[in-house]
């Protein structure tokens, strides 16, 4: 049996017991009329979480990276120019997938730990009037940086581009308003601020995105992620044609997590993330620890904390895991060894978690 951890890394977060119990409900058939009703309710809960009325709002049957691939393979055709703003691992991943779509990505790179700068994006959009889409990461999980999704979506539309947004770490943790901000296509994950187990990627496409899908000259390169086939099963409409076998029990878990989200209310959930971030920040500051990201751009749900000079970065993480059953995350790429990533996501965003983390880190720093 694996140890029980407190998950305060970059995700997965702790899963609510009710969600784990939901996952263990008896499996039902993916074409069962009772399950079809369940799917409709689940999609309605997703619309609430995304703050959207988009008809096409459904969970992809694979983790967040597949949601990213779903958005890009459906919305980019070979030869399409797409502007991709990258300020961390996941912007880089978008670039790589866009290349594999045969698209022509125009990369705008920002220093890791800084947000996407709308002015620079506008310069590039202006210089590339044939671009069909702008893609960026709202909450960069590799650095804990929030970019201004609303401003970037507005820019995209000013230059006749679709706005494709990575909200894997955003959903449920900070303000995110798909319709009000004019996001055309968005994907997220279940294992961050929703606190369901990893494995699914909620996505939403608006009418403009679906019009692009409908106007494609060639089918998307992925059959598994083809939005026309996915909507044939998930709806809208009564057709419900078999595509692939839906991951039933993982969908039970997502459904339960979304019910918890809705019971709390998005505003309250966002406030809880902000509050616990303040508590964590005060505690870390009192210990002399510094944050890597400027306060204005920090994600409350994912905190990049500088490893103090002379401290064994991996040693501290190992100590926390072994002595406290507490997971915090390492830095990635250029930030490996330089930062820890401390998550306060969903069920892992509580006063108890903050206290455990502060206690463990204090102990670790005194004993490593």
């Amino acid at each position: 049996m694996l140890p029980k951890r407190s998950l305060m890394g970059p995700g997965p977060s702790d899963v609510y017991p009710e969600v784990l119990n939901a996952m263990a409900r008896p499996t039902i058939g993916h074409m069962d009329p009772a399950f079809i009703g369940f799917m409709d309710e689940l999609n309605e809960l997703l619309r609430y979480a995304f703050q959207t009325n988009n008809t096409v709002t459904l969970p992809i049957s694979a983790p967040g990276s597949a949601g990213m691939e779903c958005c890009l393979v459906n919305l980019l055709e070979p030869g399409d120019k797409v502007v991709i703003a990258s300020n961390g691992v996941f912007g880089g991943r978008m670039l790589e997938i866009a290349r594999r779509c045969g698209a022509k990505p125009v990369a705008i790179e920002f220093e890791w730990g800084t947000p996407v700068d709308p002015d620079k994006v506008e310069d590039v959009l202006k210089a590339n009037p044939d671009a069909v889409a702008l893609a960026f990461v709202h909450s960069e999980t590799s650095t804990g940086v929030r970019s201004d999704a609303e401003a970037l979506c507005k820019l995209a539309h000013d230059y006749d581009c679709l706005a494709i947004v990575d909200a894997v770490t955003s959903l449920g943790g900070i303000e995110l308003c798909v319709d009000d901000w004019g996001i055309d296509a968005i994907y997220s994950g279940t294992q961050k601020c929703l606190s369901a187990p990893p494995g699914l990627s909620p996505v939403s496409f608006n009418d403009a995105a679906m019009a692009k899908v409908a106007s494609r000259k060639t089918p998307p390169q992925s059959w598994f992620l083809d939005m026309n086939l996915l909507t044939g099963y998930w709806g809208p409409g009564a057709k419900r044609a078999y595509h692939h076998t839906a991951p039933i029990n993982s969908l039970y878990a997502l459904d339960e997590a979304l019910r918890i989200l809705k019971r709390e209310g998005l505003d309250n959930g966002w406030a809880r993330h902000a509050d616990n971030y303040q508590k964590l920040h005060s505690g870390l500051a009192a210990m002399g620890l510094e944050f890597y990201v400027e306060s204005e751009y920090r994600l409350p749900q994912l905190n990049a904390v500088k490893v103090p000079e002379g401290v064994d970065e991996a040693g501290v993480r190992g100590f926390l895991l072994n002595q406290y059953n507490l997971e915090i995350g390492a830095g990635l790429g250029p930030l490996a060894g330089k930062i820890w990533r401390i998550g306060l996501m969903g069920a892992s965003c509580s006063e108890k978690h903050v206290a455990l983390c502060l206690e463990g880190l204090k102990d670790a720093l005194e004993n490593n």
Copy 2:
């Protein structure tokens, strides 16, 4: 709460209670050292199930159709000629995915309900000496037909082709020997004879398949399914580089299902499927019902039964669902309305299930 069904359709099958309980274990991090050890054990269990020593044996983080796409996108490059033998829905799906890979599929179509004929395949391989692969479905889930995978793999190698095999419905239900039969790449699913919930696709690539991956001129079109990146995380080797977030709890379930499979022993499991098929067959024959597939090619775990003249096919299924909480499957494509598909897979392959199905069908036919 959704109703509890007995699942005797084409999958998902009933999930063992121990497997459902395993799925509800506390989520752990995908980079946790304890989880890495779990992954190694899981892959070893998969090797047993597949009867292979292939180093590259791992579960894809998405359902069986993604396993199909994984095999094809990694093993086919644009312009590659691939011979695809199709005798049902899933052979047709292979064709569609191969086309989206930019490969040149050569289709050999067989009548639904009949197996792939090795002689015809040999004719096509002979006529296409530049083909790089032969792909076929071992157990066609749409019709309940078993093809001779061993003979087809031998043919593939005689003509210098890789053998790519769909074993979604085979694994655990009938004899399947990846190494002895010379299967180069194989994919399966969790929700058939393994009786775990749907959502993952075990795959295995041998050295010849991995050599083809290594010799590619272009990266696979799917980043999510790129075998080089997947093996970076799953091993072999100690690197364990983050690729995507593994679906932890679904992997717990698969692990538990494989432990149950190993405790029973493959031979015993195959015999159990054969025995219960005999019981189902006797009972249906006594009711005057006929099988669609010739006995030599029938899958014990999935039985295509002819809908008698004048009987309301969908009415019977609805009756069973509502009166018996029993799911059986409908026909697909040209067989819609003409057959029922009755599954005896994994946990749904028991005397109790056979008795329930016979009782329910008798009642349904007398009352519809």
